[in-house]
């Protein structure tokens, strides 16, 4: 085991909606600079777990620390270092890609080279169009560029490869590699263990909000069918 004060440590994290425990006693560790793959069927709590780790949701029991800092109590400072990429892109449909990125960068006082970021995700030519006209895959790429505005130390990816064509997947993979090379810690969810295994040495399976399997990603394929 690595030093618990470095990286992401989740201890018995639980969250409910109404009377239903969507997450129950989830414990896991992701060493700093490493990546973890979250597997599990729809409704197993993967997205809720990511939202708890992103400090969008307050855990009702247990909690998590990042580099020894408790997530929820210190959320106001930690949020600068955490990026969440999810289905909710948090983009303004009325603004163009470029306007979106520069508006978000300014609101967070992040130094970002907007044109370079757009080029990085392959949207340099469409930067002036309102994002309302974008396809799901293009919105995904733009959301990725938005996450890059932050240079996150903790990157949370909710099904990063969905809605992307093969080219987009390759691009997403490159960007993930790049962020990992910078020493970021990462958690990603996916339904395709094969896609995530490239980045994540370890995997965890959630079923009904509980951890039902953990092990090396290479063995995850075997367990994919039991969902």
């Amino acid at each position: 085991m690595t030093d618990p004060s470095s990286g992401l440590v989740v201890r018995s994290l639980s969250r409910r909606f109404g009377r239903r425990w969507v997450l129950a006693r989830v414990s896991l560790e992701v060493p700093r600079g490493s990546a973890l793959m979250l597997l599990g069927p729809n409704g197993s709590g993967k997205t809720t777990l990511l939202r708890c780790l992103a400090t969008a949701l307050k855990p009702h029991d247990g909690g998590a620390t990042f580099d020894g800092v408790p997530l929820w109590p210190e959320r106001h400072t930690l949020r600068r270092d955490i990026a969440l990429l999810s289905h909710a892109t948090a983009l303004y449909d009325d603004l163009s890609a470029r306007e979106n990125l520069s508006a978000w960068a300014r609101m967070g006082a992040y130094d970002a080279d907007v044109d370079a970021l757009l080029a990085r995700v392959g949207l340099a030519d469409t930067g002036a169009r309102p994002t309302r006209d974008f396809s799901a895959g293009m919105k995904r790429r733009l959301a990725l560029a938005k996450a890059l505005v932050k240079t996150p130390r903790l990157l949370l990816l909710d099904e990063p490869f969905s809605a992307l064509d093969p080219h987009g997947r390759a691009l997403m993979g490159d960007v993930i590699d790049e962020i990992l090379d910078r020493g970021a810690t990462m958690v990603l969810t996916t339904h395709h263990p094969g896609l995530g295994a490239r980045f994540c040495p370890q995997a965890v399976r959630l079923t009904d909000g509980q951890v039902t399997w953990r092990g090396p990603s290479s063995e995850a394929q075997v367990h994919a069918g039991d969902a």
């Binding site: 400090t55 949701l57 949020r79 909710a88 948090a90 009325d94 609101m107 967070g108």
Partner: protein, 225 residues
């Protein structure tokens, strides 16, 4: 006070979104215009119109404000931007004041468009100081926007928000409508006893209460998890 530097960025973002969706703002304007016409038709005779000009103006602005406030938060919910802002992180106070300032400016824009219309359609005599009218419009718009931004944040996420917003907001802004309409009417009629200043002081007091209190309450709504 580290959130203060974020306020201009939020205002800029709000105004940019409004500018991209200018059809929405012009919709507000036509909405108020239609209301002014309807009020005129509903009156027994056109001689009354000059007397009620100030009231009709503020009625138009009040109704326009409910629509623009609702819109200003619907945009945030479309792609989960509200949560995105909190996680970005944009301080909830900066978010509140940014949105409230932008909403004030949008209301002032609508006001700038319908004041000439009121003057043309209702032909009130303007005996008072026109610059005072600017002051009333600024104070009154700010007084509608401050509680309005908070209430819209509350209602837009609840079911059936379009009916709930006026239901919660109108009782809150009774003093605003009262004071702004009175002040405007006095201004049109000629302010013999200097009461306009009193009404403006009331508006100012209302602004101070809500611009200081509502931001704190907004923080509690947005950052709950």
């Amino acid at each position: 006070m580290s959130w203060l530097w974020q306020v201009p960025a939020v205002v800029a973002k709000e105004l940019l979104v409004e500018w991209r969706e200018r059809s929405r703002v012009s919709g507000l304007f036509f909405y108020s215009f239609a209301l002014l016409l309807m009020v005129a038709f509903a009156m027994p005779n056109t001689k009354m119109l000059a007397d009620i000009a100030g009231g009709a103006l503020w009625l138009g602005l009040l109704l326009a404000s409910t629509r623009s406030l609702d819109q200003s938060f619907k945009v945030e919910l479309e792609n989960g931007a509200l949560e995105g802002l909190v996680l970005w992180p944009v301080d909830p106070l900066a978010l509140y004041y940014g949105k409230a300032i932008a909403n004030t400016l949008v209301l002032l824009l609508v006001a700038a468009a319908i004041v000439p219309l009121v003057i043309v359609l209702y032909h009130p005599e303007i005996k008072g100081d026109p610059w005072q009218l600017v002051g009333i419009l600024v104070l009154g718009s700010a007084a509608l926007a401050a509680p309005g931004t908070l209430v819209a944040a509350l209602t837009v996420q609840a079911r059936g928000s379009s009916a709930l917003l006026p239901m919660l907001l109108f009782p809150l802004v009774v003093p605003v409508v009262l004071a702004s309409a009175r002040a405007t009417m006095l201004l049109f009629d000629g302010d013999l006893m200097g009461q306009v200043d009193d009404w403006m002081m009331l508006l100012l007091a209302f602004d101070l209460v809500h611009w200081s209190l509502d931001g704190l309450l907004f923080t509690r709504i947005v950052d709950e998890g």
